[in-house]
Amino acid sequence: MSKIPDREELRNVISSRGLAMTVEEAEKLAGYVDRMPTPLEFHLFDTMWSEHCSYKSSKSVLNTLPTDSPGVVIGPGEDAGVVSFCHQDGIEWDLVVAHESHNHPSQVLPVEGAATGVGGIVRDVYCMGARVTGSMDLLRFGDPEGSKGEATRGIVRGVVEGIWKYGNALGVPNMGGDTEFHPGYDDNCLVNVVAFGVVPHDRIIHSFVPEEAHKEPYVLVLTGKPTDNTGFGGATFASADLDGEQGMGSVQVADPFLKRVLSEANQAVLDMLFEKGVKFGFKDLGAGGIACVTSELAAHGGLGIDVDLDAVPVSIKNLPPEVIACSETQERYGLAVPVSVVDDILSVYNEKFELPRLFPNCRAAVIGRFNSKPVYNVICRGENVAETPINYITEGVVYQREECPMDNAAPEPAQRPCDPSKDLTRILTSISGCSRKHIWSYYDSEVQGVTRLRPGEADSCVSVPVEGSRAGLAVSGDGNPWYGELDPFLGGAHAVGEAVRNVVATGATPICATDCLNFGNPEDPKAFWQFKQAVAGIAEACNALGFSGGDYPLPIVSGNVSFYNQSTGGKAIPPSPIVAVFGKIHDHRKATDIVLRKEGNLVLLIGTRKDELGGSLFYRTCLGHHGGTVPTFRGSLEKRMADWILGVIHDRRAYSVHDISGGGLAVAGAEMALASRKLGIEFSLDSNPVTLFSETPGYLVEVDSRFVEDVTLPEFVSVAGKVCMGCSVSGNGWSVDLESLRKEWSDKLASVIWREEGV
């Protein structure tokens, strides 16, 4: 091997190999190995030090998020977060949650990109030992009718297709999510994916080689799809600005069929290992492929490893060693196991589940041996292709980025003319305010047979994931780009607030949250300031909305940062903090939906309306204005409202509940009526834009007419109206017949976005 290279030589390698690392980072690497690094070492460190894997710009800010609460089993740091969920038949069940972005791949290859997004996030949950019981997609697209409308529509259709083709075949029920359109995503869509599952507490598996490997020989078994050259450089691609169609080769190719078979085979292997009482490590292959999984399993267990690339099953011959080691071929897992059980493991994968028959050269194979020498050593065709002190690989890098506040004093509209009937109609038939049902109709939300409330039936989807238990799991993901654009702090705070309300509205108590933070280039001080603001907003909301008693916050247990969401020529996306909240309802039979139940019932308004319509659907749709005053985040009031709602639902006094967010009170009421089909609401409130359309956080709750006699209403609760026959909403001087709007409300999305398919 050669002498230490100079900067010029390193710069040449970086440019000829298309690496993302800086010359300074390359110098650091050369210093580590004390020579010119090998191609494999360059690519391995390029991945490990990419923004995507290292969080080098964000780490110092993320440390400010609250992560501690009594129910937390594993906080941020491993592949997924874990919180305790329920006890059933003597077993303690935990909930495993993960949240990630797959933005760049979905922009350039929507079907494959979105499919791989689902495939990647479910692996993070599977590899903790859990069964995956649901997934959710938080989607942000450009303006489907704007200057880049045709491209945007193609991306929306492709992303939806990728999600259904993968998720439906995998057999993981889709628990909805949300979809927003904003011209700021014209060049860079967002595909954020959430997955979750359940695992018995004593069967959580860690992603490192266990201590026992210091005493007896352990090997690394690689299982799944044979390695090819797909996704080579994927993490690096995710960590740079988008430049046209460049990077297509970095997009991975997903195979839900293999994943499905592998999941069952994995489960059989894990069952066997637990039965034998063997200690083992288990990790999925994602960014950085074999190189990352082998080095991380070893390094986090305090060992070194010898990897033999010639033992890796491949589907393409004569791949260069760095491609075999670093490609991001999907549907693969690595196991760190004692030599004594290897034959049994290989027989489950290769014989019982016949992997080699299902896909050419798909199989489990031993590709490495752990040892006590702390070196990451890789052999290919008899040659050493990497030899690095192993602790350097996982050490990481940290940068302090500069920040520069943006000018966020946007003006309010000078006048606010309002015709409630016309304005409500306009909102419900706009692309932002119409039903998302067409998207959900492609998704299988009911496979596994545990779904209690599907997308659109309630504010969050609810499932009953533990067999024999009545414990219900409610999930919602939110984030309003229009708020984020005007005020990233409030964008972050309300992302938490709305997701909490959606979970609470079904009767579930929030137990944890995950976040995916989507921003522009962190080297741009304005983008980095936005990021810090949003994180501060999330932290404030989480600190205010803890439900575990004491001063405990709502803990963030997992998440992801996605920077560089901008095209090389265009603007960065609106600051897009997206938050998912998970709630537990002790008895799923109490879960509440948005369907109005009974004529004559009262509709209560929780949360006094305030004049704060900045970013609102009303301003955007009816006035063509963004406004400036985003709703204030009132943490302690949000908490008191949530506690009150949970009490009413727990007492079985709430017939239906809907949170007030996008579109305000009028839209919330209309959505309840549309869901009920036969009933509506007569509001007895002032007919002004603030009352009807302000997005001040709150709820509408249907109760029987005796409720106000039985219960002393707190100051934030008032009577808003009553349930009437006929699918309509009305107020003083206005009325909208929703039945006649139903078709347009439910078909609008299809008629705009699927128009090329002839809708």
Binding site: E161, W164, K165, N168, A169, L170, G171, D255, P256, F257, R260, V261, K352, F353, E354, L358, W440, S441, Y442, Y443, D444, S445, E446, V447, Q448, G449, V450, T451, R452, L453, R454, E457, A458, E467, R470, D587, H588, R589, K590, D593, V595, R597, R652, A675, S676, R677, A750, W754, E757, G758, V759
Partner: protein, 270 residues
């Protein structure tokens, strides 16, 4: 206790909930891998279910590869023996591709499940539809024998669920119809969306001549409990769902339970 075998192929994904609802119906259900032939052959079941999913990735056509797996020889044999056999969704596709349904010419494909035909869309479609049983099917099909003329709401979730037949077969197919799509009141659906995929004759489930083999596209295992029925469902099942007490929500069977209740009745479960 009577026994049912749920046969999973590589890519099946509804085997667990299918086995679960069978057990809930008083039937001992076990899951067998496609290559568990010996184990199953030595220990035959009283009924067989091919669950939903994407066997062999829907390569070539949905169900076509699974239909040629060796374990299907055993299923074929048991079909001839008169054992109840049910294919749900992808399982139905396998039964058609194996020639067991409608079964006019053993081993030969006589009908097909084609891509959904729905206005303005292609690909997958999920949603709840209503079904009703053909009177003749109630007489002879062990999977439908507890049904009456009331329509039941059940979800569908498929991309290729359109039953198609040769024109010359349209007459003789009538006696093979198990379930048809219908309106909430049991009336003919008159096309989309009551008939969600463009199936000829509104067929949702088709039988062999003896009625012991049933290929159905909708998923009865997903509407097994009353709590699984959507809260905005129209008709009597929706009213029952919305007005149920907490106890009923849990204890009352859902509309799809009748399929498994039929089997239990046929097998003499008390």
């Amino acid at each position: 206790m009577p026994r049912a075998a749920v046969i999973r192929f590589p890519g099946s994904n509804c085997e667990f909930e299918t086995a679960r609802v069978l057990r809930n119906s008083g039937i001992d259900a076990r899951i067998y891998n496609w290559n568990d032939i010996e184990r199953l052959s030595d220990n035959r079941a009283d009924a067989y279910v091919l669950p939903g999913g994407f066997s062999f990735q829907d390569r070539i056509r949905a169900g076509v590869i699974a239909a040629r797996e060796s374990i299907m020889d055993l299923v074929f044999e048991e079909a001839v023996n008169g054992k109840p056999i049910l294919g749900i969704c992808n399982g139905a596709q396998v039964l058609l591709e194996s020639g067991l349904v409608p079964g006019w010419k053993p081993g030969s494909v006589q009908a097909a499940l084609a891509g959904n035909l729905a206005p303005g869309r292609s690909g997958y479609l999920s949603g709840w539809i209503h079904l009703k049983a053909a009177p003749e099917a109630v007489e002879k099909c062990p999977w439908l024998c507890a049904m009456n003329e009331e329509p039941i709401p059940v979800p569908i979730a498929h991309a290729e669920g359109r039953f198609v037949f040769r024109e010359e077969d349209l007459d003789r197919v009538m006696s093979h119809i198990g379930l048809t799509y219908c309106g909430v009141d049991g009336s003919a659906p008159h096309g989309w969306p009551g008939n969600p995929n463009g199936s000829l004759l509104d067929v949702a489930a088709l039988m062999n001549a003896d009625g012991n083999v049933l290929a159905m596209m909708p998923h009865p295992e997903r509407s097994f409990h009353l709590w699984q029925v959507p809260p905005d469902m129209q008709g009597p099942w929706g009213d029952m769902r919305r007005n149920s007490s907490m106890k009923d929500l849990e204890d009352q069977p859902g509309p799809g339970a009748i399929i498994f209740k039929s089997l239990a009745k046929y097998l003499g479960v008390e």
